[in-house]
């Protein structure tokens, strides 16, 4: 519906300009944030440092206003704004008009900018443990990041740009994106990506400051945990969406865009653990700082890969080389400068302390190294086509076989060290006593890994045994750690419980991946109406296809009855949709979901009047992949909730867990 003449006139005339202007105001607040507090630090002038808070509020408020203006333009079907015309039309349901705001490049970048302003605001107001000057420096660095993003928006990707000829109807949101899973996937992902900016700014501020106190690491860990939890959920949502919406039944494709989200996730995982060691033992400072720079750098690199069009991907963002150039320059300035700063100051921040081979910290370091190796292999596979092309050697693409071959073996040492790390003591441990503590989980894991394939699964596969062993090993050692810790206070128990839960979540995901990869059954078949097809204990009966017109699309809806051992358990309706505004057909799979297995039916092409091609799949334990991710995020949120209670009630030192510190080796914070 076009806006009505009298009420809509003002709206169509001014709102996008208000948004544009708000964006510019937000940029000026970013300039204030980037300069004044930093100047205050140099002059040791308190009021200048405190301006950071005001500037953060202004930046957040105006960025939010700009975002609201864009949403309003979508709701009003203001097709004079070219971004609206390209991504919405009047037939689009309201919810997707809203989500279309961040459905393409310009709007998603605006959301990105707003989320960054939000994180900056949170860092400004929730940073009591940090000294005034460190906080001011950190917020100034965040202001500089915001300048980069806002300039990027204004120069190359202005979402408020008007068109001279106003079309009567918009081109509509890509039907792939008209889905609730994908409406909330990007905001989650951005909360994760952009959250890395806080730990990055913290790391740069610490380098400038020349000192890294243990309590600060604890503070940074909380922020990183929240960002990590959102990133985990965002990645899981994307994977879940690909599974039910793309119609192939896969859940991870090693597509460059997926890899772009996995890279910062891997490094953020390492960063959380490294920050934990720095907070607890006052070591690994320079490693922690490097990881913090890397996590943010990889978020930016992801943005570059996705939006510049240097790699081909199934996720089509309208790519534009000029955007690529801008992000690349941004990457060079932000990451290049901070790595240069790192090369000068890291040695100064780092504290040389000896640590023993058999101890919790060295096992955590080992896993950090494994995680970085994983990141490097994924990164190499992702940009390998680009490197070969740049050297003029060949044009090729790197597919799933490479990634599976290199990543799967790396998870084995990761899982083993994880279990050992749970049981090991800080500072120093005895190998014999460590193994003595671990015999029970070891036996349980071995039994599970051998007995489940032998008794319950259709065949015994080597990788299934390995995968199940890793999952059982991680889960049982995490549980044992939780029981052994017996924390005294509620806040502490929440942190231990959260950490334990997150690791059990990882075990759950590994189980899902193992089972789905090895025991899935996938059949592409031709089905006549009335015909049945059996997979395992399940019989699929094809009853026919109905054509229907729904809201903004036409659908061919198949009806398939599913029987388990002769009992009807569900009726599935796999669909092929043709959206009115676009002629590309969409597949909506019919899925009977269950904790132990999914039954997946996708409708293919119509072959004759009475026959259709169909893809039928049996996917054991696939839900566990995403369930695990939810547990990981939940664990992180629990741990954070505890930490917040603790920092507000008592000082971090007084609640340091006693069981981990041998008598006589009480640690003192390095002043």
């Amino acid at each position: 519906m076009m806006p009505s003449e009298n009420t809509g006139l003002f709206a169509t005339l001014a709102i996008p300009e208000v948004g544009h202007f708000a964006l510019i105001l937000s940029l000026s607040f970013a300039f204030v944030l980037a300069s004044v507090p930093l100047y205050g630090v140099r002059q040791n002038h308190q009021p200048f440092m405190q301006i950071a808070k005001t500037a953060a509020i202004g930046q957040f408020g105006f960025m939010g206003l700009a975002f609201a203006c864009l949403i309003y333009s979508f709701l009003m079907d203001d097709f004079s704004v070219s971004y609206v015309a390209a991504n919405s039309n009047t037939e689009l349901p309201i919810i997707y008009k809203i989500s279309a705001t961040w459905g393409a490049h310009e709007g998603s970048l605006l959301l990105w900018g707003w989320v960054l302003a939000g994180w900056t605001l949170a860092a400004a107001f929730l940073s009591k443990p940090l000294p005034e000057n460190l906080r001011a420096t950190m917020l100034s660095v965040l202001g500089m990041v915001a300048i980069g993003f806002t300039l990027f928006l204004l120069i190359t990707s202005n979402p408020f740009e008007r068109m001279s000829e106003i079309p009567e109807q918009g081109r509509s949101l890509n039907p792939l994106l008209q889905d609730i899973g994908l409406a909330i996937h990007p905001p989650m992902l951005y909360l994760g990506y952009v959250g890395m900016a806080v730990s990055f700014a913290f790391a740069v501020a610490v380098l400038l400051h020349g000192e890294f106190k243990m309590a600060w690491a604890h503070w940074a860990k909380q922020f990183t945990l929240v960002a990590w939890a959102f990133l985990t959920l965002g990645i899981a949502l994307g994977s879940w969406w690909a599974y039910y919406e793309l119609g192939w039944g896969g859940w991870w494709f090693w597509d460059p865009v997926e890899n772009a989200s996995l890279l910062p996730w891997i490094i953020a995982t390492a960063l959380i653990h490294s920050l934990g060691v720095t907070a607890k033992r006052g070591i690994f400072q320079s490693w922690t700082i490097l990881l913090a720079i890397l996590a943010f750098g990889l978020s930016l690199l992801g943005a570059f890969l996705v939006r510049s069009g240097v790699l081909t991907s199934v996720h089509a963002f309208a790519s534009d080389p000029s955007r690529g150039v801008f992000i690349l320059i941004f990457l060079v300035v932000a990451v290049g400068l901070s790595l240069w700063l790192y090369s000068i100051k890291a040695a100064e921040v780092h504290q040389r302390k000896r640590f023993v081979m058999v101890s919790k910290e060295s096992l955590l370091l080992l896993n950090n190294v494994v995680l970085v190796a994983m990141m490097a292999t994924v990164l190499l596979g992702t940009i390998y086509p680009l490197i070969l092309d740049a050297l003029g050697i060949a044009k090729l693409s790197v597919g799933a076989p490479y990634f599976n071959t290199v990543i799967v073996p790396l998870t084995i040492p990761l899982a083993l060290a994880m279990g050992l790390g749970f049981a090991a003591n800080w500072i120093e441990d005895q190998p014999q006593s460590l193994l003595q503590r671990l015999w029970l989980p070891l036996v349980i894991s071995a039994l599970i890994a051998l007995l489940i394939p032998l008794l319950l699964l259709p065949s015994v596969e080597g990788w299934a045994i390995i995968g199940l062993f890793m999952a059982a090993w991680i889960a049982s050692t995490a549980l044992m750690w939780l029981i052994r810790a017996r924390p005294q206070s509620l806040p502490n128990s929440m942190q231990t419980f959260g950490a334990s839960l997150a690791h059990i979540g990882f075990a759950v995901t590994i189980t899902g991946i193992t089972m789905t990869s090895i025991y899935s059954i996938e059949k592409d078949i031709r089905m006549e109406i009335g015909e049945s097809y059996s997979v395992d204990d399940y019989r699929f009966e094809f009853l026919g296809v109905k054509q229907q017109e729904v809201a903004n699309y036409l659908t061919s809806k198949g009806e398939v009855k599913v029987y388990e051992n002769g009992q009807l358990i569900n009726t599935l309706y796999p669909e092929k949709r043709l959206y009115l505004s676009q002629t590309m057909p969409m597949t909506e799979a019919g899925i009977d979901a269950g904790l132990s297995r999914d039954l997946f039916v996708a409708l293919g092409e119509q072959l004759t009047d009475t026959a259709w091609s169909m893809r039928v799949q049996y996917k054991p334990f696939i839900r566990w992949i995403w369930l695990g991710a939810i547990l990981m995020a939940l664990g992180a949120f629990l741990a954070i909730w505890q930490s917040r209670m603790r920092t507000s009630n008592t000082s971090p030192q007084s609640t340091k867990r006693k069981e981990s510190l041998p008598a006589g080796k009480k640690l003192t914070e390095t002043a």
């Binding site: 069009g309 790192y342 090369s343 590309m584």
Partner: protein
């Protein structure tokens, strides 16, 4: 050298490759058809209800542009073809690919029609012969019916000025020899 400089070094190498990558087009897969005789197309025309055989174009250079109404980047390049048709005399043939007739006609009505003729291939059968990788793609065929160049993805103003027009000029000269 200080070991703290290593990350900066790796980063510099990475940036160098990314920078070069920006100047390349990953979709620019060289076509094995270049230098070969163009496969003949015999298809219904979009506007008139009769078929056309591209064999009839032999003797003059022509440009085959493969497009569809569902293809968003075709919109970008379409304006450029409109301009080209006005400013330069060349036989532009549109191949409407895997598209519905009504949508295709509406599209041309809305955006203008630079083509001398438009062929309609709703099932995309010609795609196999021509090795169509994605839409849009643009082929340049010379007077002898040989494919001389292929643009994968939308053509740009720059590509038209630096590649397409010079190539057509060159073919015209060859033709006059």
């Amino acid at each position: 050298m200080k070991k703290q400089l290593i990350p900066l070094g790796i980063f510099a190498i990475l940036i160098a490759f990314l920078g070069i990558g920006l100047t390349l087009n990953p979709k620019d897969v060289p076509s094995p058809l270049i230098g070969k005789q163009a496969p003949t197309l015999e298809l219904q025309q979009l506007k008139f209800n009769k078929s056309f055989n591209t064999h009839d174009l032999l003797g003059e250079p022509w440009v085959l542009n493969i497009w569809a109404s569902w293809c968003t980047s075709c919109r970008q390049e379409h304006k450029l073809f409109n301009q080209l048709a006005k400013q330069y005399s060349v036989t532009l043939v549109g191949l409407n690919f895997k598209d519905q007739e009504d949508y295709a006609k509406q599209w041309l009505k809305e955006l203008g029609n630079p083509y001398k003729l438009v062929l309609h291939d709703p099932e995309g059968k010609s795609g196999i012969d021509w090795g169509v990788y994605g839409v849009p793609e643009t082929f340049v065929i010379d007077h002898l019916g040989v494919i001389r160049h292929k643009f994968t993805g939308p053509v740009t103003k720059e590509l038209i000025e630096t590649t397409l027009v010079p190539l057509l000029e060159q073919i015209k000269q060859e033709q006059n020899l």
